[in-house]
Symmetry: D2
Subunit: 122 residues, 4 copies
């Protein structure tokens, strides 16, 4: 890479790294969309487990061990998310922008001030 | 934006957009780390639900309605992930790179060819 | 049933009802342990969703719609749990009694008064 | 208990045992409906983790370690389910019978032979 190369976007860089990682280990056969969705859900639960008996999970409730665990689980969720998006042909960044626009319609700022009820409860 | 501005990285751009979105709706009080971890886990399950009765979730098993649902749920997971990382002070990209390095040690490519058992089963 | 027949235990009765329900619909091929474990996890998340933005989920925080939803989701979790235990040959009642005994050793009452940290954090 | 006492139903017996277990450890303050719903979801994910890289989770795919883990996780899910039902005033057996009746209406046996699509997809 020459000095004039722009830095690669993080989501694309992670997609490329996970492709290489799985390929080097011949894990592609295991990485079906169904299995990746399960693995993602398992990692999300492991992340949540750090918070389950806490009041809100604010910084002062977390010790060093918890903070490290949370950082690793956040990473695991992201890595499976990137792989599942890759396997299903979804551009994660574009999908997130699309969803933010949809959410802005569902939850107009003027209407939902301080109220987090699901939109179908209005 | 002038031609000399570099494009913002997608994960940072989404962090800024979710901050603004929550702020405009005064949702910050709801967005404790504990609540965001729950919301992330709920969205991961909704994503998984699309695959639960399928064989592998390969493209030919998915109709247009399923593909749209999957794209939206992938986005929801990413958006809560970005917010939870923000609330816990974690740089998602750096954390993912750190985790890839740890995983490379746990699962040496030469040892785990085609075998996806958890590392603690070796 | 004659008046002298003892009432059947609820977990066994539900096992028999779910067997009949799946059989009448020829759903046995879908009800692999893997798929049932996914379905159980999805239902557990739908149950959790009712509580995600609440303070504690105490009775006064729940309206009639929420209470009905919670009752149905509790039932869905139980029904998939019974089916997964059936498919894996596990006697749920015996397994629960075994686990209570194990938990009593892990968390001795005298040591853990009012402290819900996981046993491996002691 | 005299010899003429009928055996207690398993779900009620487990409810009583979990009440006593939590009370002896003064865990009632932690056992809010919200926290129990999170714990239930975490255990459901730990159960699912045993199956995530398997083909179907059939008996021949499971070794002794996996079978023991599955039995323990099934028990954990049941124990949190019983406690959450207790805290929300739900009779689990009655709720399950009600849900089976609802499901029989949603998925008429004659219509859904061998098809596990969700009812809202018909």
């Amino acid at each position: 890479m020459t000095s004039s190369s722009p830095p690669q976007d993080s989501l694309l860089a992670l997609r490329d790294l996970t492709r290489q990682f799985a390929s080097e280990r011949q894990w592609q056969a295991f990485h079906t969309p169904k299995n990746l969705a399960m693995a993602l859900s398992v990692e999300a639960a492991e992340l949540m487990e750090h918070f389950q008996w806490l009041v809100t999970g604010a910084a002062h409730e977390l010790d060093e061990q918890a903070r490290t665990g949370i950082r690793h689980e956040l990473a695991d969720v992201l890595l499976y998310l990137v792989q599942l998006a890759d396997q299903t042909g979804v551009d994660l960044h574009a999908a997130a922008l699309e969803k933010i626009a949809l959410n802005a319609q569902k939850y107009p700022a003027a209407q939902v001030q301080g109220d987090a009820r699901k939109y179908d409860r209005y």
